[in-house]
Structures are given as structure tokens and as C-alpha cells.
């Protein structure tokens, strides 16, 4: 389309991230630390709350038009929950929101997550800078897809 012809550079929105901890889980502090770190790195950060269902996570992501859903889990249920979110996205034909995972994820589960399009999958103790860099990269990819659709 003709849009953007005369304006090679304009100010784009910052990356927009939804932090979610789907499923049942009581520890919320880690997510809040991440939220602040993402904000300080110049991102717009939403937090999906304590016990959102996968459906709720996706509804929020769509209505807020985020670039990345960052999912964190600290118990063993991540694989099913992450998979449910990834499946729902596919069902709804959403391919311009990136999924990033994190938490205590056993090494042997990571390939399956990657295959679902869930990247990162960093464990506790990963330096924030590495997580931020990864989220920024995935966010840029998602944003590019959003713009390509014209």
C-alpha cells in the first residue's frame, strides 16, 4: 500500500509484552521482577494476573495487541499449559504474537517446547540481560509480521 511513502521514519510503538503465569501457581515475585526489568528496558508490560486460564491469556494478548506472550511456570505443569496456549493460538490463526517461556523447565522438555514455537525457556538464575535481549528479538520478529500483512 501507499502508506509510508513520504515518511521513511516514524515513531513506532515500543514492544508490548504480556507476562503470564497460566495454571495454578502461588509464587508471583519473579514475575514482578521481570515486569520491572522489561519496563526499564523500554517495553510496555502487561501482567495477566495470578491465575489466568490459557483462553484469558490469549484474549488479553489479542485485545491489547501485544508482540510477545512471556509465560512463566515454576511447577511441573508447564508443558501441558504452554502447549494449550500454543494450540489455541494456532486454532485462532494467530501467528504474529511470539511465545517465550521460562521457569524450571527440564532440559529434555525444551525441544518439544521449541517445536511448538515457544522459545527461550530460560531457567532460574538466567541473567536478566539475556532474557531481555531474547524478548526484544522475538518482539521485533512479531512486529515485522504484523506490518507485513497489508
Amino acid at each position: 500500500m501507499a502508506a509510508g511513502k513520504n515518511q521513511s521514519s516514524y515513531k513506532q510503538r515500543p514492544p508490548k509484552i504480556l507476562l503470564a503465569k497460566p495454571g495454578i501457581d502461588g509464587h508471583d515475585r519473579g514475575v514482578l521482577v521481570l515486569a520491572r526489568a522489561f519496563r526499564d528496558a523500554g517495553m510496555e508490560v502487561l501482567y495477566a494476573g495470578l491465575l489466568p486460564t490459557p483462553e484469558e491469556v490469549i484474549d488479553t494478548a489479542v485485545n491489547e495487541d501485544v508482540d510477545v506472550i512471556a509465560m512463566s511456570l515454576l511447577n511441573g505443569a508447564h508443558l501441558t499449559v504452554f502447549k494449550r496456549v500454543a494450540d489455541l493460538m494456532k486454532e485462532r490463526g494467530i501467528d504474529d504474537i511470539a511465545l517465550v517461556g521460562g521457569g524450571t523447565i527440564p532440559e529434555e522438555d525444551k525441544p518439544a517446547l521449541e517445536a511448538m514455537g515457544i522459545t527461550g525457556n530460560y531457567g532460574p538464575g538466567t541473567p536478566l540481560s539475556i532474557i531481555i535481549e531474547h524478548v526484544q528479538r522475538r518482539s521485533a520478529e512479531a512486529r515485522k509480521k504484523k506490518m507485513e500483512q497489508d
Partner: protein, 341 residues
């Protein structure tokens, strides 16, 4: 992906289809109140690309019916988001299609922000299926009101009767947003004391409805009395500003707030005052966009072309003289091109 069969995918696509960014499809999605289309259109409005913004807002065209815009403002932590959750679902219960916009502040240094309003209304939004969008106040001049004006137009085109906007009411950008509102609701709470005095100076005068929230707290009735005293000094003609008490401990308390908001809407409609201020703001922004596209950008192009000429050194000229000359040339070229058949 081996876990996902091709025919399953096709089915899925048919039912939901991917979010369309093609403008015509976005527009028809908005008209059908599809949340994904509304959301994507608002993103395009939020981006700084004025050509795309104009494309969307133009195609939306004139609204069939104007929405009623309710601005909810008040000091940080007073309970605005919680109240909006209950208010919006209460309005939906009454058959009024309602959407919510909430403004969060960005850091002026990093541009990042925590969009914390949504979480306080999340349950109401989910249960009543309400569209809500967080908008960040990124601090660039006029940026926020431009986004908000556009977002309101989109939500209006989606058939919302009520659009609720949350702001903290501090700073110029927030006051500008309140100009969009047909009905301004100022939320206060017991125990504010001196803060009420501080607020009085600005937003107090332009509010149409006062709310004392957290009525479950001590001192609630004194707080109501304080505001009632202020309101009793109002002139007798025109709108009589109500003072309403609310608390999330008693959901029926929001009913009187809904009644007050609906009465104010009727009051405005009866006097043909709905969207008058907003209409003017919409025109002003459209005009600014037009000037930017048709004049400012062309002038800058002229300037850069001139700079590229070898025998011209702009630095030797007084900038104001140069600017005057450029503008005069620009007007001359325009006149020539319009007078020749």
C-alpha cells in the same frame, strides 16, 4: 509441526481466521465489533504513521450514532480501575454496549511502562465480555490525545454506546484527554483532606459527577459532606452535580453511579451538547494531520532539495529569512498550480 494436521489447521482458520491488517477487512471487522480488528486498528493509530492512521479513520467515516464518552479521573490508587470494572459490567447488564480505554504513564527516560490498570478490572471484563485497551502516555506532545481520539472513533464505529476512559488526571496530557469526555467523573476517597484542596484548582471545576469511593472506609460520610458543601455553592441553573458514594464491598453501590452518568447523558442530549467538545478536537487533529501531510512535509522536502543545490549554503542565511522565503515560494507554487486550468 507434526502434532498439528493440515486439515485441522484449515478448519481452525475458517473459524477464527488470522488478524487481518488489510484496511478494508479491518474496517468491516470493526463494524462487526470484532475485538481483534478493533485492537489492531488501535495499534495502527498508536503508531506514528499518519498516512495509515488517516486511511483508517477516513474509511470509518461518520458514525451512525455518537458514543457517550465518560472520563474517570482522580488521584493514584483511589480505586478508579476497580470502579470501572464494576461500572462497565453494570452498564453491559443494562444493555449498553460499553468499552474501556485506560491511560498508563510511561517512563520519560526509557519509554517503558507497566500497564497496571487492566488487572484490576480483569474479572469484570472477562465475565461481561468487554473490550478494554491500555494506552501508554508516552510523553510526546499531543501523542496521547491523538491516540485516544482515534481509539474512541474506532470504538464508536464498533457500536459502543458508552466508552469509559481512565486517567490519573495529572498533567496537561491528561487534562486534554478529559476534553474528549462528555461526562467527567472525579473519584475521591475518605481521608484525602489536603489533597482535595490541591485537586480543586484544576479538575474540580470541570467535573460533572463526584464519587466518594471506598465508602467502606472510616470518614466516608464526612468526605461526602465536604463535597456536597462545595457543590451546594454551584449556581442553580444547569446541571446539578451529584455526589455518589461507591464501594467494592457492595456492588449495588455502583447502580447510583450508573444512574448519575445516564442522567448526565440525557441532560447533554436534550441540549444537543453530546460530542461537541470532542467534535472540535477531532477536527483539530485532522487539520494538524492534513497540514503535516500537505504542507509541513512538503516544505521540509523543499528545504532539503535546496540544501542539495551546489551553489546554496543555507548556513550563511538567517534561518527566519530563509524560512519566510521558502514558505512564500511554496505558496506561490500552490497558487500557480491552482489558478492554471
Amino acid at each position: 509441526m507434526s502434532t498439528f494436521k493440515g486439515d485441522q489447521r484449515k478448519q481452525g482458520r475458517k473459524r477464527w481466521s488470522r488478524i487481518k491488517t488489510n484496511v478494508s477487512e479491518l474496517i468491516s471487522g470493526i463494524r462487526e465489533n470484532k475485538f481483534a480488528s478493533i485492537a489492531r486498528a488501535i495499534s495502527i493509530i498508536e503508531d506514528g504513521n499518519s498516512v495509515r492512521r488517516k486511511d483508517i479513520l477516513r474509511r470509518i467515516g461518520k458514525p451512525e450514532k455518537r458514543s457517550h464518552i465518560v472520563g474517570i479521573t482522580g488521584p493514584p490508587g483511589i480505586g478508579k480501575s476497580t470502579l470501572i470494572g464494576n461500572l462497565s459490567s453494570g452498564m453491559m447488564d443494562q444493555g449498553l454496549r460499553t468499552s474501556v480505554l485506560a491511560i498508563d504513564a510511561s517512563s520519560p527516560f526509557t519509554g517503558g511502562s507497566l500497564l497496571g490498570n487492566r488487572i484490576r478490572m480483569q474479572e469484570n471484563l472477562r465475565d461481561a465480555n468487554i473490550f478494554m485497551r491500555s494506552l501508554a502516555n508516552r510523553g510526546e506532545k499531543g501523542g496521547l490525545s491523538r491516540s485516544a481520539i482515534g481509539a474512541v472513533r474506532i470504538l464508536e464505529a464498533a457500536g459502543n454506546q458508552e466508552i469509559i476512559i481512565e486517567t490519573v488526571g495529572a498533567g496537561q496530557a491528561d487534562l486534554d484527554i478529559m476534553n474528549l469526555a462528555d461526562t467527567i467523573v472525579l473519584v475521591l476517597a475518605p481521608g484525602l483532606g489536603d489533597e482535595i484542596q490541591a485537586i480543586k484548582a484544576g479538575i474540580m471545576e470541570i467535573s460533572d459527577i463526584y464519587v466518594i469511593n471506598k465508602m467502606d472506609r472510616e470518614g466516608a460520610y464526612f468526605a461526602m459532606k465536604d463535597i456536597e458543601d462545595i457543590v451546594s455553592m454551584d449556581e442553580n441553573s444547569g446541571w446539578k452535580r451529584p455526589v455518589v458514594g461507591t464501594t467494592n464491598q457492595d456492588l449495588s453501590s455502583y447502580k447510583s453511579l450508573i444512574d448519575a452518568i445516564c442522567s448526565h447523558r440525557k441532560y447533554l442530549e436534550g441540549r444537543n451538547l453530546l460530542s461537541v467538545k470532542r467534535g472540535l478536537m477531532e477536527m483539530e487533529t485532522a487539520l494538524e494531520d492534513e497540514i503535516d501531510e500537505k504542507i509541513t512535509r512538503k516544505l521540509k522536502e523543499m528545504l532539503h532539495n535546496e540544501e542539495r543545490k551546489e551553489n546554496v549554503n543555507l548556513a550563511t542565511e538567517d534561518p527566519y529569512t530563509a524560512a519566510e522565503r521558502l514558505l512564500q515560494n511554496f505558496i506561490k507554487i500552490r497558487e500557480q498550480s491552482t489558478s492554471s486550468p
